[in-house]
């Protein structure tokens, strides 16, 4: 029986890389909790979301293997993020100038 295998197998990341990413994720969580305790006024939300964005990017790039995946995956993700951004921006334009 013949098998056609497209991709996989050659993408192997070592355990230690994953553990290192996890340490960074927990560190960023500690950072965001600490920063929340400091009064930054209007910047509190921006900083918290920025840290959340870094954490999500780490999970997507390493845990979800996107760093090693074919370019088409990155194109897909860019399109969905752009779609979400358009929905948010249009709603806020509507809400602000109503």
């Amino acid at each position: 029986m013949q098998e056609k295998n497209t991709g996989n197998s050659h993408h192997i990341i070592d355990y230690s890389t994953y553990v290192f990413v996890w340490v960074m994720l927990v560190g960023l969580t500690a950072l965001t909790v600490t920063i929340a305790g400091i009064n930054l006024g209007d910047y509190t939300l921006v900083v918290a979301l920025f840290i959340a964005l870094i954490k999500a990017s780490l999970v997507i790039a390493i845990f979800m293997h996107i760093k090693l995946e074919e370019p088409i995956f990155k194109v897909f993700i860019a399109i969905i993020l752009a779609t979400l951004a358009v929905i948010f921006i249009l709603t806020f334009i509507d809400y602000t100038f109503r």
Partner: protein, 208 residues
Amino acid sequence: MEANNISEHVTHRHRDDVGAKLGMWLFLFTELLLFGGMFLAYAVYRMKYPQQFHISAMEMNTTMGTLNTIILLTSSLTMVLSIAAMQKRNKFLSIIFLLSTLFLGTLFLINKYFEWSHEISKGIYPGSEVLLSKQNGEILYFGLYYAMTGLHGLHVIIGMIVLVFMLVFVINDNIKWDDYVKLENAGLYWHLVDIIWIFLFPLFYLIQ
């Protein structure tokens, strides 16, 4: 010659891991749009009632939220380690990491249960008299809190059911070191659930 080609064609087993993963990602995008709509509602109402959102968030137990964040992040680690172990042909370790992921998912849900019961015991739940006597922004905050963490919790439960199936597949060699795209796709789902929590946590627990 021709006959040979045909017989080869019949026994040819098509396998497309990239296609399987792309399909999973497309599904994840629909999940993202589902949660995106709720995040949008949250954003608009928070802009409208910033003070009342702050007052409501004081009710939240930040320690509990932080603990749950770390539990879920760790479960993502054990999930990806289970795939890595499978790649390295270590079935036993893969099973151990899958079991750890299931254990951490259960821990997350137990914490969530205590958190919700604490709020409910104070009379704060959708439609309760205590909640309805509060201001509009506070009612909206708790409505969004229950809807979003509830939907997220549902996803954790679904993810755990999927992982139980994966565990069975790994045990009876349906998932092997050279064919593990099912395990990878289950992992993608689990990580998406983690990512959603990464955003829910600062939005509901870290408003000072």
